[in-house]
């Protein structure tokens, strides 16, 4: 194949898309599919526009009790005593529980798919044991006839606290004299695997090194080193957490909940309640957003314990302040990053020191942060140190490309600064330095075919990049980002119905249209219409183990399982046709038009043979079970135009384009939707969103009024350019699309603000007070 520099590309409208939905096309390379790449109405759509879809809080059961969770008013305190007797005595109260009602837990690691937990810590996060570690930390729970009775009763629970000083900043928390949150935490040094011997807030230290870093910096033409800070932010899904549990007298526990991973909830509930996982059935309700934040358990084991104590099903719902106070978030950070280049603008060295908030218990996405910090470029010499540091904030959880958005702010704004200093166009710099197939990352991973270069090429060819800016105080910035994506375990079973349709069941909960993207892959293989597949997400007793809907894995891995199920159906139908025609199955072909043909001109369509299954050996069920390990990493490059109000410091995004290598877009509308939605979250993170804490460690903005996510009046149209560099690890080339679009926005907007004002922002959010402060400081 020609080198990328010689290949010919153009940007054109993506067929069937709205204005602004485009794609990068390479001359002579346009794969042809019948179903893949089309835009059918999603299968669960009608239920969702008519209000019939049932989400977590919509479950009703006979005898259902409502619960309320009492939460800590302190950021850091020792629990001296808890007296629940007055609450238990309230008429209408059926059960009151505390951590003492959970089985005791031991220090063992559990893998939740997008992060690792220590079961001992998760036990204490679900219901505090001897200490509370953040405001909103759950302390006790009540089940009663109504939520109002439960709430009134919970207020009668008497908790005596010994208040301790909180620590909120990672730089302070790692000092030797800082208050220590967990006396069982020791510094775990990776990848060497050494353990510290004194209690500390520094739970992990990752170190990666490649080449001769010091010599490379010494020889560099230009070295830029900068410090950055970001604040804690929340995933901000609109549906609060909810769980309903029934602990039946036969020992079986059923959990109805909205989650990204039913099997992950099953595992956690079984572990924390010390029951076999086969005794726990998790029924996934529709999920109202997750973004990584609906994987770990909060309410599920508590509802189960209340059910055991009361003999009744119990529902627990969080309100919005609970969600902000006690779930999510993704960490605030401090970062120091240094990049060196030669006289031609080629990167020669990189160095990063990254400090991420773990929150109350270890587990920030510091390791992915380390692996992403220089991932967009070919960096021949690099050194990365990353620290996971406990602070008195809620235990951090995955949030869309966890860790990568933080580090992109650092790397991508330094790259912009280097471009300016060396007089190189930011597009040209990235084309020259882009990570390509065969390049080795600082953490030692060598890239398979990737599309970083192509995303930059698409920027260069885009109308947006080529158009002039029109007004004063306007600026344009670009930034790139990387996310690994993931494969993992998925199972699909597909039954051929007598009318020629297929019923597909799967274990991947559907957050953003994956029922459609999975059904379309099965339909493509079988040669039938997407509408002739009926997909259903089923409970943990009804399908094989399936990993979380996270890591941008579902359309890739569960799609692979659907492809395998379709191929299984094809093989079985060939046998049935062979029986009908009295020939060998090997002589029967299954062509792309959903027709089976025999050696002597015999022919039968999918629909017709589907009606003959019971006469040729019984129903046909195709099965697909995969452990996918050939996921393809995704790169994105964004263009942001901003206008900065010099009087108020308000940053308005006036035009925005997301360019992303998706591998292959199965359902382009939902691919565009992921790109647009991820960018919107990144824009919110860039200019609005932050957890605002008082010195006492109390969160002051636990509402959607004060923690302001972007509204539709804040955002422009978000244009998209889909780049399709197929992933060789998937028959259609799927990479996964969900996560990387959140990564570039803060850096792209910071670079645009610089072009508009001459001021570099290195601290998120770039909110009006902060921008105005910098503008005024620059004026003096």
């Amino acid at each position: 194949m020609a080198s990328v520099e010689e290949r010919q590309f153009r940007v054109e409208p993506f067929p069937g898309g709205a204005p602004g939905n485009q794609r990068l096309v390479e001359e002579g390379r346009l794969p042809e599919y019948a179903v893949v790449g089309t835009r059918p109405v999603r299968h669960d759509g009608t239920d969702k526009v008519t209000g019939r879809a049932r989400y977590g809080a919509d479950i009703k059961l006979s005898g259902l009790l409502q619960g309320y969770v009492l939460r800590s008013p302190h950021a850091h305190a020792r629990i001296v005593s808890i007296d629940t007797s007055k609450a238990a005595a309230v008429p209408g109260v059926h059960a009151v529980c505390t951590n003492a009602d959970l089985p005791s837990a031991s220090h063992r690691a559990g893998d939740l798919g997008e992060g690792v937990v220590d079961w001992y810590h998760l036990n204490q996060n679900v219901l505090a044991n001897d200490k509370v570690l953040y405001t909103g930390h759950a302390v006790a729970a009540v089940a009663a006839d109504s939520v109002h009775v439960a709430e009134e009763a919970a207020k009668l629970i008497e908790v005596e606290y010994e208040v301790l000083p909180p620590v909120l900043d990672v730089r302070e928390a790692r000092l030797a004299d800082a208050p220590v949150l967990n006396d069982d935490v020791r510094t775990d040094r990776q990848p060497v695997g050494e353990q510290g011997d004194t209690p500390t807030n520094v739970a992990k230290h990752f170190h990666y090194e490649k080449g001769d870093v010091d010599a490379a910096f010494a020889a560099a033409e230009l070295v830029v080193e900068r410090e950055f800070t970001t604040e804690t932010v929340h995933q901000g899904y609109i549906e609060p957490h909810t769980a309903t549990a029934l602990w039946s007298p036969d020992g079986k526990i059923t959990i109805w909940t909205s989650t990204q991973g039913s099997f992950m909830i099953r595992m956690q509930v079984a572990e924390l309640l010390n029951v076999p996982s086969s005794k726990v059935k998790v029924v996934p309700m529709e999920i109202g957003g997750g973004f990584g934040g609906k994987i770990a358990v909060y309410l599920q084991p508590v509802a189960a314990v209340l059910s055991r104590m009361s003999g009744r099903p119990v529902k627990l719902n969080m309100d919005r302040s609970n969600v902000f106070d006690a779930t999510g978030p993704t960490p605030g950070s401090y970062m120091k990053v240094k990049i060196g280049v030669d006289a031609d603008g080629m990167i020669t060295a990189g160095e990063a020191e990254l400090l991420f908030e773990a929150g109350a218990f270890p587990g920030s996405p510091i390791n992915p942060g380390c692996m992403c910090v220089f991932a967009c470029y070919d960096v021949p010499n690099g050194r990365i140190d990353g620290y996971d540091i406990c602070v008195n904030k809620p235990r951090s959880n995955a949030y869309r490309a966890p860790g990568s958005t933080h580090v992109a702010l650092a790397t991508e704004t330094i790259v912009d600064e280097i471009c300016e200093a060396q007089g190189i166009c930011p597009v040209e710099f990235r084309l020259k330095n882009a990570a390509k197939e065969g390049d080795e990352r600082v953490d030692g991973v060598t890239y398979p075919p990737v599309g970083m270069w192509e995303t930059i090429k698409a920027v260069e060819l885009s109308e947006h990049w080529q158009s002039p800016l029109e007004g004063p105080h306007q600026g344009r910035g670009i930034a790139s980002g990387f996310w690994f994506n993931f494969g993992g375990n998925s199972v699909v079973a597909a039954t051929v119905n007598e009318d020629g349709t297929v019923s597909l069941i799967e274990g991947s909960t559907d957050i953003g249209g994956t029922r459609a993207s999975i059904s379309m892959q099965l339909a493509e293989i079988l040669g039938i219409a997407a509408e002739d597949v009926t997909p259903t997400v089923v409970d943990t007793d009804s399908i094989g183990y399936t990993d979380v809907t996270g890591g941008s894995r579902t359309t890739h891995a569960t799609g692979l399982a659907a492809i395998k199920a379709a191929e299984d159906i094809q093989a079985q139908l060939r046998q049935r046709a062979a029986i009908l025609w009295d020939v060998d199955a090997e002589q029967v072909e299954y062509d792309s038009g959903a027709t089976l043909t025999g050696p002597d001109g015999q022919s039968i369509g999918f629909q017709e043979i589907a009606g003959k299954l019971n006469q040729t050996g019984g129903p046909v069920v195709g099965r697909g079970s995969v452990n996918a390990d050939k996921h393809g990493g995704a790169f994105g490059t964004h263009i942001a135009d901003v206008e900065v109000d010099p009087d108020t410091g308000k940053v308005q995004v006036i035009r925005y384009t997301v360019v992303q290598d998706v591998g292959t877009a199965i359902h382009p509308s939902y691919v565009e939707g992921q790109m647009q939605g991820g960018a919107a979250q990144g824009i919110g993170w860039a200019i609005n969103e932050e957890y605002y804490y008082g010195d006492d460690g109390r969160l002051h903005n636990a509402s959607f009024l004060d923690y302001r996510i972007p509204t539709c009046y804040d955002l422009p149209d978000i244009e998209t350019i889909i780049v399709e560099v197929p992933n060789p690890g998937h028959p259609f080339g799927v990479r996964g699309v969900g996560e990387v679009p959140i990564v570039p926005p803060p850096a792209a907007i910071a670079n645009a603000i610089y072009r508009a004002t001459g001021v570099r922002l290195r601290s998120l959010p770039m909110s009006p007070p902060k921008v105005l402060h910098e503008l005024l400081a620059a004026d003096q």
């Binding site: 709205a18 602004g20 109405v41 999603r42 669960d44 759509g45 009608t46 969702k48 526009v49 008519t50 209000g51 019939r52 879809a53 049932r54 989400y55 809080a57 919509d58 009703k60 109002h148 995933q235 899904y237 609109i238 549906e239 609060p240 529709e286 999920i287 109202g288 957003g289 997750g290 973004f291 719902n317 309100d319 919005r320 957050i511 953003g512 249209g513 359902h667 509308s669 939902y670 565009e672 939707g673 992921q674 647009q676 939605g677 991820g678 960018a679 919107a680 979250q681 509402s703 959607f704 009024l705 996510i709 972007p710 509204t711 539709c712 009046y713 804040d714 955002l715 149209d717 978000i718």
Partner: protein, 158 residues
């Protein structure tokens, strides 16, 4: 707790009587007592719009309306939008434009859109974005929602 009162109202065109305690919101009564679970709770303090219903022709956050306040009023919820023989033009437009991902905010957006188009049949994009700014969506970035409202407006004026 204060005694419950009998409230007479009209919901989706049908006369409805229910019992409500003074502390209960319209949202709670719709969901918990009348089984109209299509109206969603996202924040319960009027910031997200997931619980939007149309009260006497105006879009309101049902979490900010006490149930006892709807005596004698007309309430329209997502369950009343579709005609008996298919979907409303707004619902079709949301599906055509892929204007939803998780879908939890969708009933609220559809109710706000319905109220907008009843007041202004041909809104500009700026008017659409201004009118829908009380409804939060965290999945879509709003682009496809705005397209859907534009499609619905064109459908309604044709």
């Amino acid at each position: 707790m204060a005694k419950k009162r009998i409230i007479s109202t009209s919901i989706n065109g049908d006369p409805v009587e229910f019992l409500a305690a003074p502390r209960q919101t319209l949202l709670e009564v719709l969901r918990e007592d009348l089984d109209l679970i299509g109206t969603k709770e996202g924040c319960s303090n009027g910031n997200c719009g997931a619980c939007t219903v149309i009260l006497d022709g105006r879009p309101v956050d049902s979490c900010l309306v006490l149930a006892v306040e709807v005596e004698g009023s007309d309430v329209e919820t997502i369950e009343g939008v579709a005609p008996t023989d298919g979907l409303h033009v707004i619902q079709d437009a949301f599906l055509d434009q892929a204007a939803l991902q998780c879908g939890i905010c969708t009933p609220g957006f559809i109710m706000s859109t319905k109220a907008l188009l009843e007041e202004n049949a041909s809104p500009t994009e700026d008017e659409i974005r201004f009118h829908l700014a009380g409804n939060l969506c965290r999945c879509t970035g709003y682009d496809k929602i705005v397209r859907a409202v534009q499609q619905a407006a064109e459908g309604e004026t044709n």
